[in-house]
Structures are given as structure tokens and as C-alpha cells.
């Protein structure tokens, strides 16, 4: 048994920590989130130059051959910095599908520039009626000459606002057909992108596809089991956001403890009240329990263990319940300050709440665990 990071992982983690400490304080983060595109293209370029964007990709694609553990290291650090740059939607979601399904020509067109930081992408994993069901797809792609015509609705498409390429899952032929994966470029006629900022400072969009025409070469991995690819990618994304959540929870626990040592009421630091000490001990306990589940799930997944799916649902459930409680407590113990826009704590809280529901909330994953 060994729960330590290897040298490469430690170096990767430290370099991200350093970047955040030196170049990504909370005010900078807020400025990026409020900027025209909702993130900083310059920071994204830096990510590419420092080699962080290649982590989840194979050497053959110019990648780092990273495992789920490497991705965990990255995402936890990005969580601590409350980073808004679209690592998850570009690399874990859209990149996750492309790396598993794209032909050489498709790789050259969509994956390489994505990894290089020149193009942005998104994966339309949610439909309005489906709640959190990944395979509950009503969008249909009908054959039309050589290519396809795609119609349907998608919601909460992260990064669609900036994406050049959007991976759209659709039923092939008719609503009862198999799932297929198609790349729709943003200029396609019939594609309407209703974009919006989200409560956690990110960018997402609802998509309306009305007879959107794409070529034959827009289909990814024809012949593969596209639904199972999609589910695998989403499982990886769940682990990624749970790692991000652990980074966030760590910050919330640290900041709350710190605040309680400095905030004086009744002539003493509020951290001297036992009632609050026990609450912070509960927060810490919850954080460590969440981290434990994250490690178990990530290692189980990386090793291809039988209970990988259960492990993924377990940690997601934990983030949705215990994580939410910890974040609410962090706000509560900050008093009025905790509910202000000005204080970073409120924004960590909001991101944690959003993570609690993306790819399924606690109820959803508890249901999977209950069998």
C-alpha cells in the first residue's frame, strides 16, 4: 500500500500550486470570470505551455499518458484556486470522447488543436428532459446524403460559449436508434447557442439543434459502443469534479478555521467557543472522509476494478451531501461576511453546490448505490 504521489505527480501539483499562488489570486479569478469570454485566453495558453493540458492524453497524441490519479492531482489544485479556465469541458469531457473515438484525420482537425490550446470544445452530455440520465437521449441524427441532419435540445453545455467544436450525442436514424457521437462546429446552420454564465462563475449554454447538417466525417467512432464511451467519459469527469471539490473543501475548512481564530466577539476569538470548535471538527472529518472516498474511487477506477462504478457514485454522493454540509457551515461560521459577493468563501460555496449536481446529485447516485 502506498498513498504517496510519485515524483512526477508531486512536481505537477507543486507547479500548479505555484501558479495559483503567484498569478491567480481571488481578484484575478473574479476578473477572468467577469471578462468577455468568462475565462482568460492568456491563462489557458499558459496551461498549454506548462504542459498541463496534455495530462489526460496518450503519448501518441503528444500527451503525458496520465492516469486518473494524475488528473486528480490537477483537478484538486484547480479546485483550490477556484479556476474558471475550462479544463473540464475541453480536456476531460470533449477531449475524453475525442481521444477514444476520433480517426487520425479527426484527431488532426479537433483533438490536436484542443490539446494545444488553439481550439475550444464542449460535450453536450445533458438533455432538458433527462435530468441526469446520460443515455436518456432524444436528439436524433438522420442520414442525409453522405452526412447527417441532427435535431434536438441540449442543456448545461459547459464551455459552449467559447467552443469551436461541440460533441453532440444523438440517436442514430430514429429515437430508438443506437447512440452516436457527432462533432458540430459552432458555425453550423440550424444550431442556436443560448449561452449564460452560471452561478459558480462558469459559462454554459442551452443548445437548440434544428436540422443541423454535418458531413459523414463528423461522426466519431462509428461502430463503437458510443453510449459506453460516453458513460466512461462521464465517470472520469465525475472523479475530476470530486477532486476539484476536495480542493474546494480543503480551502473552506482552512479559511473557516483561520477566520475563527481572528474574528473577535465577546472579547475572544469565536474559535474559542466549543460549540464552534466541534462544528469545525465535523467539517474536517467530513473533508477527510470525502478525500478517502476520492482516493479509493480514483485508484479503483485507474486499476479497472469491478466496483469502479460504485466507487464513482459513492464519492459523488459524498460530495453532494457531506460536501454541501461543509460548505454551508463555512458560510455560517463566517456570519454576515459569509454571504457577501466580496468574500471568496461564498464563491467556493457556490462552485461546490454546482459540482454537487453536475452528472447527478446525491439522490441520483444514492439510487445507483441502492441497486
Amino acid at each position: 500500500m502506498d498513498f504517496s504521489l510519485n515524483d512526477m505527480q508531486a512536481m505537477l501539483g507543486e507547479s500548479i500550486d505555484r501558479f495559483i499562488a503567484n498569478e491567480y489570486d481571488f481578484e484575478t479569478r473574479q476578473a477572468h470570470a467577469a471578462s468577455e469570454r468568462g475565462f482568460s485566453p492568456a491563462v489557458w495558453q499558459t496551461f498549454a505551455e506548462l504542459g498541463w493540458t496534455v495530462v489526460p492524453f496518450a503519448e501518441a497524441d503528444g500527451g503525458f499518458d496520465g492516469t486518473a490519479v494524475d488528473l486528480m492531482v490537477v483537478m484538486e489544485r484547480l479546485g483550490r484556486g477556484l479556476v474558471v479556465e475550462p479544463y473540464l469541458p475541453n480536456l476531460v469531457l470533449a477531449g475524453g470522447v475525442l481521444k477514444r473515438t476520433a480517426t487520425d484525420a479527426q484527431r488532426a482537425r479537433w483533438l490536436q488543436p484542443l490539446i494545444g490550446g488553439e481550439r475550444h470544445a464542449a460535450l453536450a452530455f445533458a438533455e432538458p428532459h433527462a435530468r441526469y440520465g446520460i443515455g436518456d437521449i432524444r436528439t436524433v441524427a438522420r442520414a442525409d446524403g453522405d452526412g447527417w441532419r441532427i435535431s434536438g435540445d441540449k442543456t448545461y453545455v459547459l464551455n459552449a460559449r467559447n467552443a469551436h467544436d461541440i460533441v453532440v450525442p444523438a440517436r442514430v436514424g430514429d429515437p430508438s436508434g443506437d447512440v452516436g457521437l457527432f462533432v458540430v462546429e459552432r458555425a453550423a446552420t440550424g444550431l442556436e447557442i443560448l449561452d449564460y454564465p452560471t452561478v459558480d462563475g462558469l459559462q454554459a449554454a442551452d443548445l437548440r439543434l434544428r436540422d443541423v447538417a454535418v458531413g459523414a466525417d463528423a461522426r466519431l467512432g462509428a461502430g463503437d459502443d458510443a453510449l459506453s464511451v460516453l458513460e466512461t467519459v462521464v465517470d472520469e469527469a465525475i472523479l475530476a469534479v470530486c477532486a476539484e471539490a476536495v480542493g474546494i473543501l480543503q480551502v473552506l475548512v482552512d479559511k473557516t478555521v483561520d477566520y475563527s481564530k481572528n474574528r473577535v466577539q465577546f472579547g475572544v476569538p469565536i474559535g474559542s467557543f466549543q460549540a464552534l470548535q466541534h462544528r469545525m471538527v465535523d467539517m474536517l472529518t467530513g473533508l477527510e472522509q470525502t478525500r478517502s472516498l476520492l482516493w479509493w474511487a480514483t485508484m479503483t477506477y485507474a486499476e479497472g476494478g469491478d466496483d469502479a462504478k460504485r466507487a464513482v457514485s459513492a464519492v459523488k454522493y459524498q460530495v453532494g451531501t457531506t460536501g454541501r454540509r461543509i460548505a454551508e457551515e463555512a458560510v455560517q461560521l463566517h456570519g454576515g461576511m459569509g454571504v457577501t459577493w466580496e468574500l471568496d468563501v461564498a464563491h467556493y460555496f457556490k462552485r461546490l453546490i454546482a459540482i454537487g449536481r453536475v452528472f447527478g446529485d446525491a439522490d441520483w447516485h444514492l439510487d445507483k448505490l441502492a441497486g
Binding site: 428532459h129 435530468r131 455560517q332 456570519g335
Partner: protein
């Protein structure tokens, strides 16, 4: 033991219900239904309507223009108002400073201030908390130094709700620092917001709203005639006010209305998909919250019965604020969870008059559910945080 109201009370309930059903302005109804935030004039118009019916100052004695209602009638009125999803009145004037003025103010102050409160001509805000004095309010530092015919006010108040709308502010300030107990040197002052030396700075809350402010006083001259009661007794008056704040603080009526709505929605298909009722875990959480709320409703009724029988409210009243906010926050979370991904768009701009509905994200008010959840974290923080409430129960109820 029985729980039914008397025939007279039932007749009263029907009267209140009919009033809200027929008289509540349809423009306000529409705004509320579409999630459009109410503004200053909306509140004022609504309060004037209640006043015209003689119901605005529900808790005031008749001699000052109140209703003279029994505790049961007040309860029924508040419940019906909540059930009709009519907004609460703005508390600072009619529920906070008004009672302090008619209880402790001079005749001249009563004549000068009460009619404008009754008619909603003047908007009040509450200047208690300071950056360094929240839970420990008695540590407040704002000073009021006597200089001829005026107190000179210096200091900073914070979290002042809707000060941007306010014409007047009631302030707790220190008039004497040479006292045995910190509480003794505090006085209760009425201050015109137009007085030179007052600046109001917005504080934006985590949902992006401008609801609270910092109010800064620099050499603000307050005529001595605006001191309520005796100098140095402000703390006692302020506490009386807190008791008024305590009526109907469990918010049972509002919580009931919200849970009822949520349950009704559960059988409808969501965005053309499965109804929420198919999510058993969600339904169990909903049911558990309904049980908590039912318990709270009866805890409140027990308090009401004691008060109606002329007894002092028992220990159960102390737990109303704690449980009431816990339940309302649980409902916020359920409502947000019900909205799934549609809770996440941050689109306050679509909840304004004349918004192009073809560009609407989600159904109805889904995108507001998370903002309400975030905003209402305040409920367990303000008005005496839940931790402070527990300290009070421990000390005064359990004798610890």
C-alpha cells in the same frame, strides 16, 4: 385537547382569505409569479392597500391605529397572507421602530413618526450591527456625543438592509463610555438619512443582489429631540424590539405554501421527461421535511395557545427561530434540487418586465431557485444567529 378554531376565528379567516384572493393587486401577483423582484414602490403600494383595510399595523394597539386583534387572529392573518403568497410587509418601520416609539417615545415623537409609519410615507432601516459588533452587539462603537442641542454621531453601521431606500434609520449608539456594564451606555436615536455626513455604500450579497449596505456617520448632528426615552436605556428598548421581531418568526405559513407547491409539481413531467415523483430519494427528503414542518406548526400553535390563554410563552417559543430557519433552508435546498441543471444558470436579467420569453432559460423560476437558496443562508445568521439562539436556550431555558 382540540385544534380547531372558534367559529368567529373561522369567519375571520374567511374574511382575510377573501381579501387576499380579490384585493391583492394583479400587477404584484404577476411579478411574484414571474420571479420579478419587488421594488420600493411595490412595497409601499401594497402596504398602503393593507392600511386602507385597517390591517397594516396588525400588532399595534388600537389607540395608535392598530387592529387590536387577539393572538389567534394575528396568527390567522399572517398564515393567510403567507398562504396567498403575498409578501411580508417591510418590518423596520411597522414591526420594529413603531412599537419602540409607541412604548417608549414622547407624545411628540408619537405624533410625528407613527402616522407616517402607518401610511408607509417613510421608509425605515435598522442601524444596529457594526463591522466589529455582530453577535456581540453590546460591543458597538458608534458614538453619539452631546453638543448643545444635538448628538454628534460618528461610526459605521453595517448589513443595513435596504438602507438605499430608507428615509430614516434607528440607531443604537454609545452616549456614555464610563459605565459598569457595556449595555448601559447605549442610546436609541432616530436619524434622518438626509442629514449631512451620512454615506451609504452598497454591499453585494453572494446572489448578486443589492440588499444590504454599510452606513457611515461622520459628525452627523441629531437633534436631542430624536432620542427615544432616556439616554443610556437604548439597550432595553432594543430588546423589546427583538421581542416584536419574535412574532411569527418560524415562517410556518410560508414554508407550508412552498412545500405544497413543490409537492404539486412533483407529478408533472419535468421538461417533458419523468416527473420528480419517480425520484424516490427526492420524495423521501420532501416527506421528511413535511414531517419537520408539521412538528414546527404544532410547536408554534402550542406557543400560540399559551399566549392566547394569557400565559407567558414557554420554552417552545425559543426553538421557533432555530427550527423555522432550518426548515425554510431545507425547502430552499429541495426546491433547488428539483430544478436539476436548470438551477445553475445565473440569469437574473430574465426576471424583468418585458424580457423576450423565447430567450428564457428553463421553465418559470428554475434559475432563481439556487439564488434563493444562496440568499437565504442569511436566515440562520441574522436577527441573532442560530448559534446565539442556542446559547439563549441553554442559558435561559435549560439554566446551564
Amino acid at each position: 385537547m382540540h385544534v380547531s378554531f372558534s367559529p368567529r376565528d373561522e369567519a375571520f379567516r374567511d374574511e382575510v382569505r377573501a381579501f387576499f384572493a380579490s384585493e391583492f393587486p394583479s400587477e404584484l401577483r404577476q411579478k411574484i409569479d414571474r420571479g420579478i423582484p419587488l421594488e420600493r414602490d411595490d412595497y409601499i403600494g401594497y402596504q398602503k392597500l393593507l392600511h386602507a383595510r385597517g390591517w397594516f399595523a396588525a400588532d399595534w394597539p388600537v389607540e395608535y391605529g392598530g387592529t387590536g386583534w387577539t393572538p389567534v387572529q394575528k396568527y390567522i392573518y399572517a398564515s393567510e397572507m403567507a398562504a396567498a403568497e403575498a409578501p411580508d410587509v417591510v418590518a423596520f418601520g411597522v414591526k420594529m421602530v413603531g412599537p419602540v416609539i409607541y412604548t417608549f417615545g414622547s407624545d411628540e415623537q408619537k405624533k410625528r413618526f407613527l402616522p407616517d409609519i402607518l401610511e408607509s410615507n417613510v421608509w425605515w432601516c435598522q442601524g444596529y450591527s457594526e463591522p466589529g459588533a455582530g453577535s456581540d452587539l453590546a460591543s458597538l462603537k458608534t458614538r453619539a456625543d452631546l453638543d448643545g442641542d444635538a448628538y454628534v454621531l460618528n461610526g459605521t453601521k453595517t448589513w443595513t438592509t435596504l438602507a438605499q431606500y430608507a428615509d430614516w434609520i434607528f440607531v443604537l449608539a454609545r452616549t456614555n463610555t464610563d459605565v459598569a456594564r457595556r449595555q448601559e451606555g447605549i442610546s436609541f436615536l432616530l436619524v434622518d438619512m438626509q442629514t449631512p455626513g451620512i454615506t451609504v455604500r452598497p454591499i453585494i450579497t453572494l446572489d448578486g443582489e443589492h440588499e444590504v449596505n454599510e452606513v457611515h456617520f461622520e459628525d452627523v448632528r441629531v437633534p436631542v429631540g430624536n432620542l427615544v426615552g432616556e439616554e443610556g436605556k437604548g439597550w432595553t428598548y432594543g430588546k423589546v424590539l427583538l421581542q416584536h421581531e419574535r412574532t411569527n418568526l418560524a415562517g410556518v405559513g410560508r414554508s407550508k405554501a412552498r412545500l405544497r407547491k413543490l409537492r404539486n409539481r412533483c407529478t408533472e413531467p419535468v421538461h417533458g421527461g419523468q416527473p420528480l415523483a419517480s425520484d424516490r430519494n427526492f420524495m423521501r427528503r420532501l416527506a421528511a421535511t413535511e414531517v419537520e414542518l408539521k412538528a414546527l406548526e404544532f410547536t408554534e400553535l402550542r406557543t400560540l395557545a399559551a399566549v392566547a390563554a394569557g400565559k407567558a410563552p414557554g420554552p417552545e417559543s425559543s426553538i421557533l427561530k432555530i427550527k423555522g430557519t432550518e426548515v425554510s433552508q431545507a425547502i430552499d435546498a429541495l426546491t433547488m434540487d428539483a430544478a436539476g441543471y436548470y438551477a445553475l444558470p445565473f440569469v437574473p436579467g430574465q426576471y424583468v418586465d418585458g424580457f423576450d420569453e423565447s430567450q428564457f432559460i428553463g421553465d418559470g423560476k428554475e434559475a432563481l431557485t439556487s439564488l434563493h437558496y444562496f440568499n437565504n443562508r442569511k436566515a440562520s445568521i441574522y436577527g441573532g444567529s442560530n448559534e446565539i439562539q442556542k446559547n439563549i436556550v441553554a442559558k435561559h431555558v435549560l439554566g446551564l
